[in-house]
Point group: C2
Chain length 365, copies 2
């Protein structure tokens, strides 16, 4: 790797398999996953929510003079301070966000990027104003078809220099559920979660929820930003036909029972009644309809906890009478659209949308 | 790897080199490093302080009925609630903690464990009571030579099942600076940082600061817990003579200038005056005396920010007139004991105490 290539070349990274590159480990050290045992918390405690930041976290002191500019197909160009945004009508939503690349490292071959296994998910109470209030204040033009949201974070990816940005369709951008948020769990946003302002797009994979929001542009034609048209695309074959990554697919995870081995995270469980607990979620406005647990490939129904609103994960639980020996555990959710997690991953060239069932081998003794 | 071996075998893991194992990546996904750009904050924002947890984070609801038991060579065995601990005399200390394994992944061959590069460090304001007040209340016996502090986190390492535990000498345990802490940056401890109570041992690598503190035992002979006598040992050759890991070695890190490439984190810098900024720290009661910066191996002095107390990192800065081309940057701290960071890592079998200078290659254009 030589620096000139990185900053001028547009070559893609080829899928790979086997042991992991230093670059992947470096990304894993930067980007943080939830600890699976922390799925017990309805709202993920501060610092345990997953993080995926493409570039550096911008350094924004509280008195920075931050502005978010609204321009393009609007009646009036605006430049709002965080205080001005906070004076707009406020909503708080409990939202589960998952990284589109969650599970990437379990695909073979995998895409060289952040090597998530299962842990790129979290739930928070986000407080902000619906984006539509900002668009309303600027006077959204009738010809606007997409709203691009651009962050202050800037860098290169595959030779392209850009600020991180994503767009929403006019219809999605005018939903009351899409927030320009200034608080996470009742506190100002932490720097790494987008201080002072970020987008939160419930039901979508996390890439839609642009952080360090600095520019909103109403567009009369589709947005062509790198993260919209060159990344976050499903591809069944490398360089093949592409479909945009949008809503979260139905998924469930369990808290690994018992105690771990430090290095391998293998689990040892004490014989007898064992509480298995986890979470399940889905995007696209779908509710969790059913969670099943498999013990050694024999499936049974889990009990569902009460829902926590339209956009947050749902708890599930089952008591397993653990008998001595080695056992394979798995969990599988089905949503109200009838979508069910696959038993085997759907391979994707970029490593997106892997919602295959989580499997766990435990020893009981 | 088969589960029975993990839970009964005492075989050590052999040093390795080249690409990284899935187990290492799994640990990197669990354990979080600071983002180097966050070194700009005097106090590391919540969620950006490094984390290294050996086993699962215990799930402790606020009304859990937590107790810390004090036993062994004491006049009176105690069992204190967090509220009772909070009624003891309070101190707040700003403390920089670094993982003893920071920099492990840059050694060749490396030890298969958490593959830290540079990022296992953070600074927080810890509020608690000096451990000596708890020992005083129990009445520490004259024969007590060590104080063992045991956490609630339990698991296996190299075939040994144990709760995480470490001891301090009688003298260290009676220092006014060793805290049993209940707050981090003015808030209750987050679960992953030891809620409801943890030890904070300023100046030492992080392994001494036992989390989820549940048992304090005054011992009349040296503690023989796994993490004291089988781990956290410097070894110049595998299985060779061992020296305990104790205080942090002098070290410095810089905020990488410019903007990154997503995958490689290579940096592109704009020509002209560029602020280089970073932090430096040392343990063992030593202050930072000097920081030098090298641009293409030519060393110059950095300006030091005012100190932040006896136990926290110190800021340093220099303005570099960046000329077009490729450049190698490095930083090197010297402490008041005259210790200086080495230019090349001292190899260690377990990957501990790597305080070699950070090097960064940047392109300016």
């Amino acid at each position: 790797m030589s620096a000139p290539d990185l900053f001028s070349d547009t070559a893609r990274r080829a899928n790979t398999e086997g042991p992991f590159a230093a670059e992947e480990v470096q990304l894993a050290n930067r980007n943080a996953g939830i600890l699976l045992e922390s799925l017990r918390h309805d709202v993920t405690p501060p610092g345990l929510h997953y993080l995926l930041n493409h570039f550096d976290v911008p350094y924004v002191p509280p008195d920075d003079g931050w502005r978010v500019d609204i321009s393009g197909a609007v009646r009036e160009t605006l430049s709002l301070t965080p205080d001005e945004v906070r004076r707009l009508p406020e909503r708080t939503l409990r939202v589960t966000l998952e990284c589109a690349g969650n599970g990437r490292a379990t695909l073979t071959p995998r895409y060289p990027s952040m090597p998530w296994m299962h842990e790129a998910v979290g739930t928070a109470d986000w407080t902000g104003t619906p984006l539509r209030h900002i668009l309303g204040q600027a006077g959204l033009g009738d010809d606007a078809v997409e709203i691009a949201c651009i962050g202050a974070d800037r860098g290169f990816d595959r030779g392209h220099e850009h600020n991180y940005g994503r767009s929403l369709s006019r219809r999605d951008a005018l939903s009351d559920d899409v927030l320009v948020a200034w608080a996470m769990n009742g506190q100002p946003l932490p720097p790494q979660h987008g201080f002072p302002l970020r987008l939160v797009v419930p039901g979508w994979y996390g890439m839609a929820s642009v952080k360090w929001l600095s520019h909103i542009e109403a567009l009369e034609r589709p947005y062509e930003g790198f993260q919209q048209v060159r990344s976050y695309l499903y591809r069944a074959v490398p360089d093949g036909p592409a479909t945009p990554v949008t809503h979260m697919r139905v998924k469930s995870l369990m808290v690994p029972p018992g105690i771990p081995d430090f290095y391998t995270r293998a689990r040892l469980v004490t014989p007898g009644p064992t509480h298995l607990f986890g979470r399940a979620w889905s995007g696209a406005g779908a509710a969790i309809a059913r969670v099943e647990i498999a013990i050694d490939a024999a499936w049974r129904e889990a009990d569902l906890d009460p829902p926590q609103g339209d956009f947050a994960w749902r708890g599930w639980r089952v008591i397993w009478d653990a008998a001595p020996g080695e056992h394979d555990l798995a969990c599988r959710a089905t949503d109200s659209n009838g979508e069910t997690q696959p038993l085997q991953p759907r391979w994707d060239a970029g490593g997106y949308g892997n919602n295959a069932v989580q499997r766990l081998r435990v020893q009981v003794r």
